[in-house]
Amino acid sequence: MKRINQNIGCVILLLGVIFCSCNKMLDLKPQDTITDAAYWRNGNDFKLFANQYYSILRNFNSVSGSTSGAFTDNPHHDNRADMIGSGGVFATGTNTIPQNDNSYTLNYTRIRSCNYLLQKAANYTNQSEIAQYVAEAKFFRAYCYYDLLQLFGAVPLVTKVLDTESEELWAPKASRDEVVDQIISDLEAAIPNLPASIAANAGDFGRVTRAAAQAFLGRVTLYEGTWQKFRDGNATRYNALLDKSIAASNSVITSNQYALFGTAASNALGGNSTVLGDSAMKYMFILENPKSNPAGVTKVANHEYILSYRYDDVTKQIGSNVSRNAVATSVTQKFMNNFLSKDGLPIEKSGLFQGFNTYGSQFVDRDNRLKYTVKVYNMYYWYGNFNYRINWSDDATDRANSTGKVSQVLGYGNQKWITERNCKDGAESEDYPVIRYAEVLLNYAEAVFERNGAISDADLDKSLNLVRLRANQNNGMPKLSNAFVNINGLDMRTEIRRERNVELFFEYFRFDDVKRWHTANVDFVTNTGGTAYGNAAGFVSAWPVAGRYKGTQAELGPNQISPKPTNALDANGNIIIDQTARLWTEKNYLYPLPSGQINLNPNLEQNPGWK
């Protein structure tokens, strides 16, 4: 019996060993990731966390959560406005309420990551060690809310990390003013803690600087100030916003940290960009470290980009078809007509304008920016992986290789963002300007004008004229001045706005500008203009091939190669691209909130007019 008891004892002991060890042996920790509890120990932890925010910046592959690649349709795209063709349902006004909208949800995902750092920072002892990264979190939170503001207007305001139990999930929208005030307060809190400057070769180059936050503040306050002003808002509020905008832009100007590329001021900050002369503006957008311009100027010479999404020929190529997609961008006649003649007058007033008779005639004696933004007929360009500039000398070899010259022009071709060097698809590496100095200068001029109803010549010289004359230093183009406006019967506001249209083309400002100016009912519902079909200019196929002819393919006949458009012609023989049918009502100034979100949170009110 004793033996038996021993046996039983042994068995129970054995079972017991397994029993006891079980619970402890079920506590397993991740092996290839860090847990939050083991993080947030030093300043570098905060820095690494903040590094993710730089993906939020607008870049060649993603704008506002649209990730389909460079220059494809996105919520801010110029093609939804009137300067570029083919905006799909957004250009016809027939867009409907989507079930889901990544622009909405992705911004909140990004806002969460900002809130996450701010929450962790609140419990961190050495605040000065992490002040810069806290400021970055605030800057990027403001950046995301500004995107939401532009797209949807008032939205729910979330400034802390939520979980599935949070009541904020079911909260209604904050007011538009609350959203704007949140953006402003985040930026103002961030500004003092951001570095005044970061040297171009420093390890932190590319991070948000004080000027970047100030410039952004200038952008936001101009946006909201004019939005309110043109919608009969509270004058006290919009004037205060415009004052803030003027002050913010002015601090960037007076900081002397940035200058327009291709100017003496830029050379003074390092690098020689004036060597490119007038064409500096053209080459800035395709500025790479491998030779990408006749003078071999590299990115070190660029002091115009205040905040950019950065690429590199070796470590970070863009990876999507930039040049190839930009080549396919069709420019409207309306955009062409925005460019002044070199006497500073609009084409309808200028004696220098050569008319629409030929493609090339339109480029004669114009603002140089036209020939640097739109392809010039009978010139040689990069096209695909095989045709490219070799030495930019325009000699016989160079020309022989860059056979992009087209004898039959297929409409107006965009030139911005298209490299001229030998570059495989996706291997471009120019930076994407999120904020550049020229915009700050134009923001300043506009804010001053809208605040005061007038702008002094001194203010114009300190801002807008710098931008205008960068590419027109030698062709005798006059400055914009009050006297010039008065003598020629021009309108100062129109000229200031024209400057934005011309300078910031294809940088996704036009659509949002028109919205804040509240002029879409005029600007968008027009004939955007095609080219003259079949006339002496050599247009064999009117712009745009796949664009907005009237009728369907079936109507146009089976000829796919050169279908005959049935559109009417205007007095100049140009095809009328009829935008007058575009549906644009007050509701279109804001995008509809995605219906899926309203289903989930019935307290979320749809934007007015969208049902």
């Binding site: 990731t33 932890d45 966390f49």
Partner: protein, 1112 residues
């Protein structure tokens, strides 16, 4: 003590001794020979190899080929006669005559020992729903790469499906009684008591080593608690029973023949169809200026079929074929494909070029034997599974060695050890799925040759020859090594008490080596290098990732410890009591490392570090993945039977998982089962009708923890490259990873209900089982949708609910006609499910496949109701008028506008006679696809992708040495809406089109044709409209298939008797999947998946095998 001093006495002693000796002699003399014959009762067929033993001794003989035996015995001895498959009987010796011993067939169903969780039970007293599969299912089936292949149609309640036919990657899936959750659906598989980490391990197990499989379908699975929600499969491997040394060898050779896949049209048919479609699209006018029309014309009229026309042979050619009216050949306009260098018109059929028959072999060799103390079985297996894909490295091999050893230390202490070493290699061409015209995607149109005149890869513009890509693009070699080591110690330390300890260790090691080479493609005459793909050696991301060498190693050990204590006893001869308690711990450790080198110096011997710029950032990439998980358990079972009539059983399990936070980690599962053997009741016995009748009922809970993260209760941060350039480098970032932390979730619990009846009539000739079940998962782990302001994905929480129900049955008839024995068996399985709750929000539905929709089964199809074909222009006009723009709202079903054509007066765009119409189901006057279940528009439920009414019929015949066996298997109901563009003729012009439409397209003369009016990519609006998901466009997935047929012949013993080596020899011929009937229109196999994407494109094959079973 006898004192014997007298002579008399001494005499007596002498006599006694003498007598003793004599008696001794006599007693030997008394052993006489008994002879007899063992026959099967009824058929009178001799039973070969029956064991005849003198009871109480170890002496025994076996019956010969005629059933005859001779054994020495003495008066009063009793013979014990036994043979596998028969009931053992005892017969008293009788020297007076030749004994004729009739053996009755064993009622296997009742005496069979069934493996259940942590133990065995007799079939007769089993109360759970347990399906069993014997080793018979794995015999004679030709080379078998996965045992699941042979289970198809064999066990009621078990639905086996396959997704591919690629050797080594057939992706056999199986479901026990339908779905139990929206999460992972893999049943838990245990081999000899140790769980498999992944059911992929079944790819390397040798089916010839399987003795039997038990599938626990109901509450009986509850003893495996946490992972038993999808059923539990218990595989038991073959063990020697001891006895004489025996060698068994089974070689098989098989020919794989290509089964069903879409047949492609030839060049002439392609051009003719294309031309017709284009003319239709152009409203009856020949679209002369359209490139593809020109091409079709060129094919039909140039007379070049069977040859290639080099660009340089065309007058006026200047490097490219441009759209130039002057570029003519024999007066025909040369179509201006800017990127092509020549025009080829070979009557090629890419599916025939790529796929073809192949030969596979399998060899199984086993040695077994033993003594009183031990028994061993050593088995070796080799499978060479050849591929139907004809280019590049292809195929799969399996190497197995297994030792199953049983050792008896004493009658009380026994050790059973199993060691299995397995290797499974898979080869495939690296680029087999790369690009738009690869072997696994759309095939190029007819006309394009695989290779150039000199055998180089051919390209036609950007259409790269798939065979060239397969042959020259590098190989993907995968080596899997698995070791299963498992010791089972049982100690009967006290009467009625047994302790069992199991220690198991499984190791999976994978070595994957993938080389991607650049392929250069040429024009047909080899003169022009058309393209190089992948483009270069330095592109490290994106679609055109350059030439590189990649290596990945996985090391995945798994440990399992089980201790259990059992007690069984019978009281008063009628109370059978069994108790078992135990505990278990198992732990899985996963390690993966991978690395890739770009820009290799040599393509011939690729190795890591062999890159021209090795070590340079961007040219070498590394990765690591490590995780672990553990499960701790206590379990127990109590059984009670009264007189073998009233059976009850209780099961409990308490599981703890490392996947959940500590205070939600542990959960109990339990089951209760009861059975009533009516056939043991006197009343029923009196009827003398039922041989067996048992009612069973069970209820139990099982759990699931699949498809959730391993550490989701901890907020993790992923440190990785941000992709953002700060300074001069790409900055590293830290970011929160995964969904939100879940602090309150726990196991899914599935409640299982089962009712069953087992019966046998007519001397058990007719037997069967019928069962009905119900499952409810009411705390299913699902992702509820939260407002986007949350800014993160919500964790899966226990908020979902799913209901599953169904029934299954099996009926077997066994009898003989004269000397022909036969058996017929049929089984059928059906189950349905309904998703009660999954999202917490309105459920979106889209036309076509919808995985999760509340109120509907998983994998439901929705679509429009087909309203018939529009036959006349009047019908078209009326339909357009009613539905194009009703009430000013344009329809959203893609019904095109009917606007007058300016250049063809009197004609309209949009539909025309021969196109489909659909029905306004909800009667709102408009045709619309809704957005969710609350607002479905005109969408109707079309059925589910899950097969219903899956069935199998087995027929077996035996006559003399011949045996015949066949399996018919099928599905009674399944809906398929195929993805991809093969099902729509000319939806994509430049690809091979399937033949199914030829001659079956609507025309005014052929109004009843299955296919609508032919349209091309030029008018895909109408194509997409016609072929959208509807009651017309879905395929009927039911089928009946001859799964297997075997004819075998066992050589008579008399032939073998002359030699000593071979004791048994059987040869057979077998065929798999030889015939089927199906309703599928697009040519795919009815078993194929709904998308037939990726390696699902491997055509299913038919197998013809020749094999033998030899015993030495």
């Amino acid at each position: 003590m006898i004192k014997c001093y007298t002579v008399e006495c001494r005499k007596k002693v002498f006599l006694f001794l003498l007598f003793s000796v004599l008696f001794h002699c006599f007693s030997y003399a008394q052993d006489r020979v008994v002879s007899g014959k063992v026959l099967e009762a009824g058929t009178k067929i001799p039973v070969i190899g029956a064991a005849i033993k003198i009871k109480g001794t170890t002496r025994g003989v076996s019956s010969d080929v005629n059933g005859s035996f001779k054994i020495k015995a003495k008066d009063g001895d009793v013979l014990e006669v036994s043979s596998v498959g028969y009931k053992s009987i005892t017969v008293p010796v009788d020297f007076s005559k030749d004994l004729v011993i009739s053996l009755f067939e064993d009622n296997k169903a009742l005496s069979e020992v069934v493996v259940v969780g942590y133990g065995t039970q007799k079939r007769a007293t089993l109360t759970g729903a347990v399906a069993t599969i014997s080793s018979k299912s794995f015999e004679d089936r030709g080379p078998t790469n996965n045992p699941l292949a042979n289970i198809q149609g064999q066990a009621p309640g078990v639905v086996v499906t396959r997704t591919s036919a690629q050797p080594g990657r057939e992706n056999w899936n199986f479901q026990v009684r339908g779905v139990s959750s929206v999460n992972n659906q893999d049943p838990l598989v245990m081999v000899d008591g140790v769980a498999l980490v992944s059911n992929n391990a079944l790819n390397s197990i040798n089916p010839a080593d399987i003795d039997n499989i038990s599938i626990l379908k109901d509450a009986s699975a509850a003893i495996y608690g946490a992972r038993a929600a999808y059923g539990v499969v218990l595989i038991t491997t073959k063990r020697a029973k001891g006895g004489a040394f025996k060698v068994e060898y089974s070689p098989t050779i098989s020919r794989k023949l290509i089964g069903l896949q879409p047949e492609l049209i030839n060049l002439n048919q392609w051009a003719t169809g294309l031309k017709q479609a284009l003319i239709n699209d152009s409203y009856g006018i020949d679209p002369e200026s359209y490139l593809w029309y020109q091409y079709a014309q060129f094919i039909l009229k140039s007379g070049l079929i069977g040859s290639s026309l080099a660009g340089t042979d065309i007058p006026g050619y200047a490097g490219t074929l441009t759209n130039n009216p002057n570029l003519r050949y024999n007066g025909l306009l040369v179509p201006g494909f800017g990127d092509v260098k020549d025009l080829s018109f070979f009557d090629t059929n890419m599916s025939k070029i790529l796929w073809g028959p192949a030969t596979s072999t399998q060899h199984d060799l086993s040695f077994s034997g033993g003594s009183e103390k031990q028994a061993y079985r050593v088995s070796l297996g080799y499978l060479d599974d050849a591929s139907q894909l004809k280019y590049g490295a292809n195929g799969s091999q399996r190497y197995n060695i297994r030792l199953n050893h049983d050792y008896k230390f004493s009658n009380a202490l026994k050790l059973a050890t199993s060691i299995s070493l397995e290797r499974n290699d898979v080869q495939q061409p690296t680029l087999y799925g790369t690009g738009g015209y690869s072997a696994l995607s759309t095939y190029s149109q007819p006309g394009i040759p695989a290779f150039t005149a000199s055998g180089k890869p051919y390209a036609w513009g950007t259409v790269y020859s798939a065979p060239g890509q397969l042959r020259d693009g590098g190989d993907n070699l995968e080596y899997n090594y698995r070791a299963f080591i498992n010791s089972n110690l049982s100690y009967n330390f006290l009467k009625h008490f047994t302790f069992t300890g199991i220690a198991g260790y499984n190791l999976w090691v994978q070595d994957n080596r993938v080389q991607t080479k650049q392929v250069q493609y040429y024009s047909y005459n080899d003169q022009v290098l058309v393209a190089t793909n992948p483009l270069s050696g330095i592109i490290t991301s994106g679609a055109n990732v350059g030439a590189n060498y990649y290596r990945q190693d996985i090391n995945n050990p798994f440990y399992n410890l089980v201790a259990q204590l059992s007690y069984s006893n019978t009281f008063a001869g009628k109370h059978d009591i069994g108790l078992m308690v135990g505990s278990a711990y198992e732990r899985n450790e996963y390690n993966l490392i991978n690395t890739r080198t770009y820009n290799l110096a040599s393509d011939e011997i690729p190795y890591l570090g062999g890159g021209l710029t090795s070590g340079t950032a961007g040219f070498v990439t590394n990765g690591e993945n490590r995780y672990h998980s553990a499960l701790g358990s206590y379990f127990g079972r109590a059984t009670y039977a009264y007189k073998g009539k009233y059976l009850v059983e209780a099961i409990g399990r308490y599981d703890g998982s490392s996947k959940f936070i500590a205070d939600k980690r542990w959960r109990g599962f339990y089951g209760a089962q009861a059975g009533w053997r009516l056939s043991e009741e006197a009343l029923v016995k009196k009827l003398n009708f039922f041989d067996n009748l048992k009612l069973r009922a069970s209820y139990g809970t099982t759990g699931n923890q699949a498809d959730i993260g391993l550490y989701d209760y901890l907020q993790q941060l992923a440190v990785a490259s941000s992709g953002n350039m700060l300074g001069s480098t790409i900055a590293t970032q830290a970011a929160t990873s995964g969904p939100l932390v879940s602090l309150d979730r726990t196991w899914e619990t599935v409640r299982n209900y089962n009712l069953g009846v087992d019966f046998g009539f007519l001397k058990n000739r007719l037997s069967g089982t019928f069962e009905t079940f119900r499952k409810r998962n009411s705390n299913m782990l699902v992702n509820l949708a939260y407002p986007g302001v949350l800014g993160a994905t919500a964790p899966k929480t226990n908020d979902g609910e799913l209901k599953t129900w169904g029934w299954e049955g099996i009926l077997t008839w066994k009898d003989h006609v004269g000397k022909v024995k036969y058996s017929i068996s049929g089984n059928i399985t059906d189950n349905q499910n309904k998703l009660i709750k999954v999202s917490g929000a309105a459920n979106g539905i889209t036309p076509g496949y919808n995985n999760l929709v509340e109120g509907y089964p998983l994998g439901s199809y929705f679509g429009l109701r087909y309203g018939g074909r529009l036959q006349t222009q009047e019908q078209v006009d009326a339909y357009n008028a009613a539905y194009y723009n009703p009430g000013g709202v344009i329809n959203n079903i893609g019904l095109p506008a009917a606007t007058p054509l300016q250049n063809q007066p009197g004609k309209f765009t949009g539909l025309r006679p021969g196109d489909n119409s659909f029905v306004d189901v909800n009667g709102d006057g408009a045709l619309s696809t809704g957005i969710n279940t609350a607002n479905p528009g005109d969408l109707v439920f079309l059925g589910t992708d899950n097969p219903r009414y899956t069935f199998g019929f087995n027929l077996g015949l035996q006559w003399k040495g011949f045996d015949f066996y066949s399996i018919l298997q099928g599905v009674g109901k399944r809906t398929i809406f195929r993805g991809g563009n093969w099902r729509v003729p000319y939806l994509s012009i430049f690809q091979g089109q399937t033949k199914s439409y030829v001659g079956n397209v609507w025309s005014p003369e052929n109004q009843e044709a299955y296919y609508p009016n032919l349209h091309s990519a030029l008018n895909n609006g109408i194509n997409n409209y016609n072929y959208q998901a509807s009651t017309w466009s879905v395929e009927n997935g039911k089928y009946l298939r001859l799964k297997n047929v075997v004819l075998g012949y066992t050589l008579p013993k008399s032939l073998l008797a002359k030699q000593k080596a071979i004791s048994n020899l059987r040869v057979y011929v077998s065929g798999s999947d030889l015939w089927e009937t199906t309703k599928i229109h697009d040519g795919w196999d009815p078993e194929a998946t709904r998308n037939v994407g990726g390696n699902e494109r491997y055509p299913f094959y038919r197998y013809v095998s020749l094999g033998a079973n030899v015993t030495f």
